[in-house]
């Protein structure tokens, strides 16, 4: 996994509450057995009309948001299904940061696993970023994980808090499984002391 330290990028606003993972990646794309190539299916039913053509009204289809790598959205982003395909799709589409007031637990965990940073800001700050991304052409933010700070080139700045161990892992791009395997002795001891009852 690539380390995440500081990221600067264009911001796309998708300012809706309770965006569920069924919207981020609809079920017909979950049958693939690869981790790659999900980007073109992200928000499929919102991005594309029933005939398959791109809906020019949808935020991510607008030329001004092309190449955006920071998504700003409203509360409870990523609720619903545990499908990690949602994060693979967002990452493959180019997003490295999602900013929202709150995130669903499993989605947030899945983001960490893929080097995507979820930044929880309060509702006023999130709304402000969404407003700026709509009002200011080519609006960019700098997300600094070392300083735990989000800022633009003008006056906006906000601090965020993040679990220390998650920050450490993202900063160093650490392999989660490798970390757990360092505790092989403890795991083996646990297993020896806790045989399954009855089976």
């Amino acid at each position: 996994m690539n380390p995440f330290r500081v990221h600067k990028g264009r911001v796309a606003p998708l300012y809706r509450a309770n965006v569920d993972t069924d919207q981020i990646i609809p079920k017909q794309f979950l049958k693939r057995i690869e981790k790659t190539g999900f980007g073109e299916f992200v928000f499929f039913d919102w991005r594309r009309r029933p005939d398959g053509s791109l809906d020019p009204e949808f935020t991510l289809n607008q030329p001004r948001y092309k190449g955006a790598s920071i998504l700003v959205t409203d509360k409870n982003f990523g609720c619903g299904s545990s499908r990690e395909h949602a994060v693979w799709a967002l990452a493959d589409f180019g997003f490295r940061v999602v900013i929202a007031p709150t995130f669903a637990d499993i989605f947030a965990n899945n983001c960490v696993q893929n080097g995507v940073l979820t930044v929880a800001l309060n509702e006023a700050e999130t709304a402000e970023i969404a407003h700026r991304a709509q009002a200011i052409p080519d609006y960019e933010l700098t997300v600094d994980l070392e300083q735990k700070k989000v800022s633009d080139s003008q006056v906006f700045t906000a601090n965020f808090s993040i679990d220390d161990s998650i920050r450490h892992r993202l900063l160093n791009g650490l392999d989660d499984i490798g970390l757990t395997m360092q505790y092989e002795k403890e795991i083996a001891a646990y297993e020896a002391a806790h045989p399954a009852i009855g089976n």
């Binding site: 309770n18 409203d74 545990s82 965990n109 899945n110």
Partner: protein, 470 residues
Amino acid sequence: MPEKRTLFEKVWDEHVVCVPERNPSLLYTDLHLVHEVTSPQAFDGLRMAGRGVRRADRTVATVDHNIPTEPRGTPILDPIAAKQIEALQKNCKEFGVPLFDMDSPDQGIVHVIGPELGVTQPGKTIVCGDSHTSTHGAFGALAFGIGTSEVEHVLATQCLPQRKPKTMLIQVNGPLPKGVTAKDIALGIIGKIGTDGATGHVIEYAGEAVRGLSMEGRMTLCNMSIESGARAGMVAPDETTFAYVKGRRFAPKGAAWEKAVAHWRTLPSDPGAKYDKVIEIDAATLAPFVTWGTNPGMVVPVNGRVPELAELKTDADRAGAQRMLEYMGLNAGTPIEQIPVDRVFIGSCTNSRLEDLREAARVAKGHHVNAKVRAMVVPGSQSIKHAAEQEGLHKIFQQAGFEWRESGCSMCLGMNPDILQPGERCASTSNRNFEGRQGRGGRTHLVSPMMAAAAAIAGHFTDIRTWQFN
């Protein structure tokens, strides 16, 4: 460790392998359930890293999400779905994981067969690459959904680094009113606390109404914990739990059974144990509910109306509601009982167990599905299908005009050919009414099995409390 602990804290404490410096606790997993959709990339990851499955003996796999519910043996026409099923077969063989395959008499929805086989037991930690893993909490297990990277993590190490969630007690006081089921308790709770009301928490459900539920009902209730954002839902094990588990294939036997039950009796929360949040609900305020919007928190009683925007609680709800009304093709103020349905789906890990089918059959008996409605019943597992047929439930459904199909997740998420057409309106016993969940443009209303069966017959939603049972 506090002197008085909750059910969750006891199960958690018992599974902490170690607490590494500056990292979350390493939590041991007793049971890992695997299915075809969220596992192929995890097995690939193992292969790439040269890792094996640490405890294949604590891993159980089945196919459920994308298999057709046509008679078994019918070829799978979708080549990508077929490839995903083959991948699971190949992976299970290569890594030695037991698989209950398409042709197995034990195949079924992963959250249905775990309890049926007796691998789901009180006090266990259970994970699966599926958010409805919360179902197994009905037994007093700590069970939660994980993503594919975590599936790989558990396959490789049998452990997961986990930050300890907060605790929430939801106490449902008093007995359930007539016509109100476990599904309605779940919908009532989500309607009250919202789809993020329990984010970061493990819910413990308690109170007279919960205690009075069968294991099937408790599974329905815990199943929908994730729809309020909860990490997991749990019910303390009791005699009802032990009676359900006893004698099942993988349940402890003989002296091991006595020892297990003695341990399970220590799990319920200590009197006076503290929760981070407590919510009390009077069961008398619950009704047969119907969702009207595109998230499971948009709930009204069947004798109510589609709400006016001004009645909604938060700004976000109001902003979303207009969009929901448009998507759902509904007008504010419309009485729920006047909304016609095109399709009815009775099934899913929420409501496809024998008790659910019995209740639906009791409603359907001697009636006929409305001429404008297509209704299907999809048992949760082969074993439920078989048991239902032994009781003649399939005859009741078929005579009433319901389709009787093979087991799987089916139209809950429409990964197989069972989907809604654009604009079709469905009364569904499943768990999610998200946009497009059951098929692009499809309109889903979540209800209990009895309410779904009644809607199929009436052709519109109807209050089960006034139903003419034959």
